[in-house]
Point group: C2
Chain length 387, copies 2
């Protein structure tokens, strides 16, 4: 596995900190939002004497709770159509292993979450990227682009909705286009919907679970990590109405025995998180997004489409190579004792050379820090251009 | 993946319970022993507001605690030589992926923990079994048997010590024989040592970490599941002094982001479990083992070597096929309203046809239940023979 452009930066960030610089981290998706109290309390009120294995598919009571949650998205989901996994990562790895064979191809609109490459590599599956464009906010590429890449080896399409790194939220129309394509070629449609709860400006999230006519083709990858700001519990889920796929996945789940028990206790309790929590979180993220994105677009030569979901934005900077720029920001620049760490987006593209001018910024920090980051980025760009 | 003989029995056990039979489960390794209070209390006293990702390699404070623990086994282990994993399962899967390529061969004395097959299958590695014999208590097979199976494709030997399903505890002499073999052919030596703490009759566990001259070849797979009776937390560890292997494994660990946070909190606290806990647990297991094994050997036609460690015993029964017998015990037999579920050992052999007369029994239940189980097994064998 090649080292990712973000990981390459880590030693530079560490060195910068050792030298006394404050590094503002816009590079990672670890929210500072508090975990819902109802989840924390469930852990604190633990009343078990033995921390036993749970069912390989996850505790039944939790799966039933999840089935109720998913049934609000698409009627009639049962707990047997839900598998509790060790994070969204394992859900995706299960989906790849269960549905694809070595040599098969999966089409993914790029830029995409770089870890997808790791799951593909482990299972011997080839990723076929389809370029989406910053100019139109990373909307779904034309279906003709997909058609051009579909071969006998193509077995699946994978989307992330809303997207990491783009924050783009697919419209119902775009999903219906994908539905028709998937149906026509009898492909699997995988959707990573871990940011489902984070949709802004009154837009509604459309899950692929609700697409009619491809019920057997659809596999949803989910996670509590971002939804309840508890990335550390490592609890995800896989949802599918395809009985054969679910039966294969149960065998994979049995091989690793069970998903984490304590995380399941927190996650089951989190299902009772009041709507007020989400409203407050959503309001906070919209404010942060607006500060960050508006601030970026106010900088000379920077272009950043306003994302409709998640908590990432991709910006194009007036530099030739953001890998170099991001390293320079850590290594050679500071403004009032501060610098900013951003993720070069080249690592999120599968096509070599794409995204060289782009960075991903995660707005997971408080507004004051984002404002400081903007000042720093503006000063950094100027200094970098004049060096 | 073929269905295991144990899993095939599950529906029969469920049906037996529905019909009102009490099923005594000697088939699974889920101990009834209580988790140490110090671990449960650490969870109850959780004082985090956000359950964040931990470091991909595990929390540094926990890794330092583990380094101290392993240094008592083999001097000088540092926290950089320890990777916290999602259960022992993930540690083994990382070891296979990092050290072996598709087509490589790994030699494993059989019978062995059936899930090893799953990890081999996922990584495209071929398992080459070497038969160990119930007649001598499943001791290490002669080195000549290993030599006969070593080819250019052989890359590793995997042992489980003490063994699941056999309970056999390798002697220092046996490990030195393996050490010499591994050195001669420059192989990896993997040891699953998750039952390390369960050694009886004054015998001492020898870890492969302490074998001199093959420091770079050794990879230990570990877990807190059995040690502290907390299988549900899904925390394991991988220990190796091989820097290159550890660097590859860190990349695999990064791809799945982090091991479970709450389980790490419990596990770090569990390092402070008082010796009195282990003494009590060990005393309990020895009493259970003696009741079970002596009781089995008192049954006409049954042979069960007394294991030196873990909490499993393999017994040879006077029946032709334990898969059939175990199913019959669930489906067609009861004694005072009870029956016993055991694991046919054929599923733990890689060589077809081996172990057909053997069952694995886990002595993870209280003594009274074990006595009831023995009565039941004796009556069952008689009835089965006379049917």
């Amino acid at each position: 596995m090649p080292e990712s452009p973000i990981r390459k930066l880590v030693p530079f960030a560490e060195k910068a900190k050792k030298l006394g610089k404050e590094v503002i981290h816009l590079n990672i998706g670890q929210p500072d939002i508090e975990t819902p109290e109802v989840a924390l309390n469930a852990v604190k009120n633990l009343n078990l004497k033995v921390l036993e294995y749970s069912h390989s598919a996850g505790n039944e009571s939790y799966r039933k709770g999840l089935a109720e949650y998913y049934s609000k998205i698409s009627a009639g989901i049962t707990h047997e159509e839900v598998m509790v996994t060790t994070g969204g990562s394992e859900a995706l790895s299960f989906a790849f292993t269960a549905c694809l064979n070595p040599g098969d191809e999966v089409i993914i609109p790029e830029p995409f979450y770089a870890n997808y490459n790791g799951f593909a590599e482990t299972t011997g599956v080839k990723v076929v990227p389809i370029n989406s464009k910053i100019e139109n906010g990373f909307a779904l590429p034309p279906i003709a682009d997909f058609e051009a890449k579909i071969s006998a080896k193509t077995k699946a399409i994978l989307i992330c909705n809303p997207g990491n790194p783009t924050g783009y939220l697919y419209s119902k129309e775009e999903l219906i286009q994908l539905r028709d394509l998937v149906k026509k070629h009898d492909l699997y449609l995988f959707a990573d919907e871990v940011y489902r709860e984070f949709c802004y400006d009154g837009k509604k999230h459309e899950s692929i679970l609700s697409l009619e006519g491809i019920e057997e083709n659809v596999i949803v990858v989910d996670s509590v990590s971002k939804r309840y700001s508890m990335c550390g519990v490592r609890i995800g889920a896989l949802v599918s109405r395809n009985k054969e796929v679910m039966s294969t996945i149960l065998k994979l789940a049995q091989a690793r025995l069970s998903p984490p028990l304590l995380g399941q206790i927190a996650s089951e309790a989190a299902l009772k998180t009041p709507q007020s929590y989400f409203d407050q979180v959503s309001k906070e993220y919209v404010e942060r997004r607006d500060i960050l994105v508006d601030g970026l677009n106010a900088i000379d030569g920077v272009f950043c489409p306003k994302p409709g979901g998640a908590f990432y934005a991709v910006a194009q900077l007036p530099v030739e190579d953001t890998e170099d720029f991001c390293q320079w920001m850590l290594e050679s620049f500071e403004h009032n004792g501060k610098t900013v760490m951003m993720a070069p987006v080249s690592g999120f593209y599968s096509t070599p050379g794409e995204g060289k001018k782009e960075v991903r910024l995660a707005y997971v920090l408080e507004k004051e820090k984002l404002k400081q980051a903007l000042v720093c980025i503006e000063a950094g760009i100027k200094a970098y251009q004049n060096k």
